[in-house]
């Protein structure tokens, strides 16, 4: 059962993607740690960290694509789950500081001493243990998503209304985390981390390790999403995306499906946040900003909604551009991002990956048809799957060619 489940995840596209990611996971840390600094192949530490950060963004985008691209839930609040995972990791890192803080208190983080708190709030208990923090990284965003989704999906809140309440969710958390008496460091957030699992957080080896961990997390989550979207469950998700009420009349309990992917997606976002925080060295309420969640959706739209690979490519490309722009032309970054979004919406509605795979299928189709007319034995076949629809496990005999893929459906 499990093996066939994972087996589904693999095909040529997934293989290429995994090979590239795998190579990056090995080569980037090696280029940093093993290649001498004088060599042109040396990867500077700042670049390792920067790319590690991109990978965590890519994981966040993957999580958004799972719910938006496949199930039609346009979340404008995923940064909240990302930030919650980040805070859980930040709390662990804070407690690792111990007596090395400015006030030298063995238990209380500096900001609590500063606020004259006498003891650790109960919700900080356990965060001195890594396993506990790691558990919270997935449990806290997962639980919040579950509760939120349980109410929202049961009441059949969909479309733009759902998007708006996800914005409200992240905004409410932003305001809450700004307050000093919440016990999460107020607007300064959590920072000045020293070490992680006993490793100095500034060390090159730790940085390389965090990069590799981010890459690995991305690979694992990609495989999970891929297996999921290519299973029968994935087909139900696409059915829900395209014709929700029809799916109900077939006997599927739509709210259970939505709740399942929504919670899973929030957990993945939490993992992304937890890997992000030690690499950037800080987590503050700014991560809950509503604009952050919207940006993630733009990455996915640019890369190609409902393609998984596209989410990763979109996140990495846009953030690479952002890094470049904010250094070279900081004033125009937001305009450039907006412009890019408009351009993609108008001219590449399927995003980069969607457009490419469509073009590629059409090209191959034409080649085979031409060869067939020229007397080849292989009959022209229909492209079995649209980029928006997950692949079928069993592909029955092919038939006549089709003219084109289905138009993408709006998310209600």
């Amino acid at each position: 059962m499990m093996s066939s489940f994972l087996f589904r995840a693999m095909d040529a596209r997934a293989g290429i993607f995994m090979a590239i990611l795998g190579a990056a996971i090995v080569l980037v840390p090696a280029g940093n740690l093993l290649v001498p600094e004088t060599s042109p192949f040396h990867v500077p530490t700042y670049a390792v960290t920067l790319m590690g950060k991109y990978l965590t963004y890519a994981l966040l985008a993957l999580a958004v694509d799972l719910v938006w691209g496949y199930c039609g839930i346009l979340s404008l609040g995923h940064a909240a789950f990302f930030a919650l995972g980040g805070y859980a990791m930040g709390m662990y890192l804070m407690r690792q500081i111990g007596t090395r803080g400015v006030y030298g208190d063995p238990i209380l983080p500096d900001f609590m001493v500063f606020l004259n708190w006498q003891e650790l709030p109960w919700y900080w208990y356990g965060f001195d243990m890594f396993w506990f923090a790691a558990l919270m990284v997935v449990l806290v965003p997962g639980l919040l998503a579950f509760i939120f989704g349980w109410f929202a999906f049961r009441s059949r809140v969909t479309g733009v209304y759902l998007s708006i309440i996800t914005q409200a969710l992240t905004y409410a958390l932003l305001l809450a985390f700004f307050r000093n008496d919440m016990g999460f460091g107020g607007n300064n957030g959590l920072t000045d981390f020293k070490d992680l699992l006993g490793f100095d957080i500034q060390a090159d080896t730790t940085r390389a390790g965090l990069f590799a961990a981010s890459g690995l997390a991305l690979v694992v989550c990609f495989l999970i999403c891929r297996a999921l979207t290519r299973s029968k469950l994935g087909k139900v998700l696409v059915a829900v995306r395209d014709a929700e009420s029809r799916t109900r009349f077939l006997g599927y309990r739509v709210e259970h499906y939505k709740l399942f992917v929504w919670t899973l997606s929030a957990m993945m976002a939490g993992i992304a946040g937890a890997l992000y925080v030690p690499q950037v060295g800080i987590i503050n309420p700014g991560e809950f900003a509503p604009a952050n969640s919207i940006e993630v959706v733009i990455w996915v739209a640019i890369g190609g909604r409902g393609t998984l690979v596209g989410a990763v490519i979109g996140a990495v490309l846009v953030n690479f551009a952002k890094t470049w722009f904010t250094a070279a032309l900081p004033e125009i970054w937001l305009f450039a991002l907006g412009g890019l979004f408009v351009f993609v919406t108008l001219f590449l509605p399927k995003g980069i990956v969607g457009t490419f795979s469509q073009g590629w299928t059409a090209l191959r189709q034409r080649k085979i048809s031409a060869a067939y007319e020229a007397g080849s034995d292989e009959p022209p076949t229909a492209p079995p799957h649209s980029p928006g629809a997950p692949a079928n496990v069993t592909i029955p005999k092919p038939s006549a060619p089709v003219s084109g893929a289905a138009e993408p459906q709006p998310a209600e």
């Binding site: 059962m1 499990m2 066939s4 489940f5 999921l228 299973s231 029968k232 469950l233 087909k235 139900v236 696409v238 059915a239 395209d242 014709a243 009420s245 029809r246 799916t247 109900r248 009349f249 077939l250 006997g251 599927y252 309990r253 739509v254 259970h256 499906y257 399942f260 076949t381 229909a382 079995p384 799957h385 649209s386 928006g388 629809a389 079928n392 496990v393 069993t394 592909i395 029955p396 005999k397 092919p398 038939s399 006549a400 089709v402 003219s403 084109g404 893929a405 289905a406 138009e407 993408p408 459906q409």
Partner: protein, 248 residues
């Protein structure tokens, strides 16, 4: 007929939208194994009746029982579908970005929970069943095409195929012949008669040739309640029916 021996039992069902009574004290009984045709002018409440049976719309008052004992009021769409009531919509609705094959696979009777579908591996029996259905709805050659590329009539047939894949006890079929040529309409009637051999069917249709070829009991709806019931010849002879519907 008594409720206990009926398959579907509606008694005094009323539904209003902003004060407008779409169904007005509607009472209707379908026996197990029966095929029934429903006719009536536009806006008579035929589709609304199906909405009420399948849980899409909750009735304001009245009783709806399935299998003589199961109260359908208050149940949601998914549980009513699971009880064994399948529905074809007036406007054909198939999953456009899925292939024909996948549309049928999704409809196929199987456990509906997320965890069952997550680990579902299609069985030989299921494949065979899909093959049979593909043949029946004449879409075998198009199995790998996206449903979006089908013609209107083909979508109607695919939806009937999906309905059969669900293997329901009762099929509610809303205007299956709409948008079809005469030949296609005749074929659809044959298909439905075939289906009616081992299912109970309620068909809504405006096409009188189609209704006649089914040769079953007809119920005429008008302004949300039953105007006449009986054989097509019987109801056609009814003056009120001629006035509101057939005479137009």
């Amino acid at each position: 007929m008594a409720r206990s021996t009926s398959l579907l039992y509606l008694d005094g069902v009323s539904v209003s939208f902003d004060g407008f009574k779409a169904l007005n004290e509607l009472s209707l009984t379908i026996a197990p194994g029966e095929m029934r045709a429903i006719i009536g002018p536009n806006g008579a409440g035929k589709t609304t009746m199906m909405d009420v049976i399948t849980g899409k719309t909750q009735p304001d008052s009245g009783e709806i029982y399935f299998n003589g004992a199961v109260d359908l009021t208050g149940e949601d769409e998914a549980s009513i579908a699971e009880l064994g009531i399948g529905r074809k919509f007036q406007k054909p609705t198939v999953f456009e970005s899925h292939t024909i094959w996948d549309n049928l696979e999704l409809a196929l009777k199987a456990p509906r929970g997320p965890f069952s579908t997550l680990f579902h591996v299609i069985t030989g029996a299921e494949k065979k069943r899909i093959e049979v259905l593909l043949d029946l709805i004449r879409l075998g050659g198009k199995r790998n095409e996206l449903a979006a590329n089908l013609s209107h009539g083909q979508k109607q047939w695919l939806e009937i195929g999906m309905l059969l894949a669900q293997d329901p006890k009762l099929l509610l079929v809303d205007e299956p012949a709409a948008g079809m040529t005469d030949a296609e309409t005749a074929e659809t009637a044959e298909l439905l008669k075939d289906i009616a051999k081992d299912h109970s069917v309620v068909v809504v249709e405006h096409d009188m040739v189609f209704v006649r070829s089914l040769g079953v009991k007809v119920t005429v709806l008008h302004e949300g309640s039953v105007l006449a019931e009986g054989s097509l010849d019987h109801v056609s002879a009814d003056e009120r029916v001629v006035e509101v519907y057939l005479g137009r």
